[in-house]
Subunit: 244 residues, 2 copies
């Protein structure tokens, strides 16, 4: 397998992307041990973080596939890799909130932990230089980076993913407070869940203790970052099994 | 008339609001000489500003009324007053942009002056403490401060006002770059244009020289603030007449 690894195309904050020489419609993702927050102003890492997050992402993509959610995931590759469909990323981060926390809670002056009557979908323009600004649907259309029907599809998929993940995390005794996903279009123009779903881009609070099991442990210097990510993986394996 | 003036109910940044003793469904607005920017962190004033802005607001409300746009305006009262319908303000500032400028241009990294293919409507939560954060329609609904049909009506009215004002300012050789309006509900539940439309809440650029004739002269220390506001009033009087 490794012989198909081509040159690196792109290095992001948490992953490297490589060409896959035997098929130009596939790329290889390597999960890094680094951890960043606040638009990469805060940097850190822990041993095996890449491998742990890769395992979590694989289990989530497999689980979502079993529930009919299309994603770029193809297969898990040792030791911190994942083969995925090559997609063109739709340049908006899609956030789904079940409970209010983070930037939106702060912006609206609402205490963290307010339970929403229904999930809230938000869009942020993917642009590091501009610090990923929050945008309305009308602004997304004004930018001419998407279409009304694409926005409808993104919201629909995001809410379907949310419903499935709520149930998965519930079985792990975790509340899915919110999460961020990205979508891409493959060479056939199909919209697929892309990037990753890991504790780097979810808020997961223990249902019993309210303890945080996500990147807020790093963002807010709460300690035990590695232990928390490992615990998420261990709880997940008990529910959805998978390779280890 | 003045004998109907009751006690002050509220003092805002640019206006005072008084009860109108002979009719509880009416209130009296007094336009102040003060000028504020950046959520009142920058303060200033000029002589007759209240009277000039009141005159501009009156002419605009009268013009919009003749075009079928419902507003709270009842009548002009000397020397810096206006009698209006008592309304409950819908707590969102509605911004319409024809050209990009100000906060949205900055947020999206687009140079000021980009002409939009169609007008962009934006909503900002009215909350001084939170510095009037930009909100999406889904966030507005989550806050339970409005309804889907009310949002539809606000956008419809804002775009109608925009179409009429573009034509008015065009005759004054001014480009209506953007403007902010507020709406309120009267005691019958009717949604009315409220607050004011003046150079305090519009961007007006001379069509020939691109010179600014609005609060950006104050915000950005461009000088000739009073002269610019006076010029807007004088050009407007030539087009729509009115008392002086």
């Amino acid at each position: 397998m490794k012989m198909s690894l081509g040159k690196m195309i792109y290095e992001g904050k948490a992953k490297k992307v490589y060409q896959w020489t035997e098929d130009k419609n596939k790329v290889f993702l390597e999960f890094k041990d680094s951890l960043t927050a606040f638009n990469a102003q805060k940097k850190g890492s822990f041993e095996n973080k890449g491998s742990i997050n890769r395992d979590i992402a694989v289990l989530i993509f497999q689980y979502l596939k079993s529930k009919g959610i299309p994603s770029h995931f193809i297969e898990r590759i040792e030791d911190r890799g994942m083969l995925v469909q090559q997609v063109e990323i739709i340049p908006f981060e899609v956030v789904v909130r079940n409970w209010l926390a983070g930037s939106t809670a702060k912006k609206l002056g609402i205490p963290e932990g307010k339970v929403l009557k229904k999930p809230l979908v938000e869009f942020y323009l993917k642009n590091d230089e501009l610090a990923d600004p929050f945008v309305s649907e009308d602004q997304m259309l004004m930018l001419e980076l998407t279409t009304p029907s694409e926005i409808t599809r993104l919201k629909e998929l995001a809410l379907q993913i949310n419903q499935q993940l709520i149930q998965l995390f519930d079985q792990m005794n975790l509340t899915l407070v919110d999460f961020k996903v990205e979508f891409g279009k493959n060479h056939q123009g199909e919209i697929l869940l892309a990037d990753e779903i890991t504790p780097d881009c979810c808020r997961l609070w223990d249902k019993t203790t309210q303890e945080k099991f996500d990147k807020d442990r790093f963002r807010r210097d709460l300690g035990s970052v590695k232990e928390s990510y490992t615990e998420v993986l261990n709880r997940m394996k008990k529910i959805v099994g998978g390779q280890s």
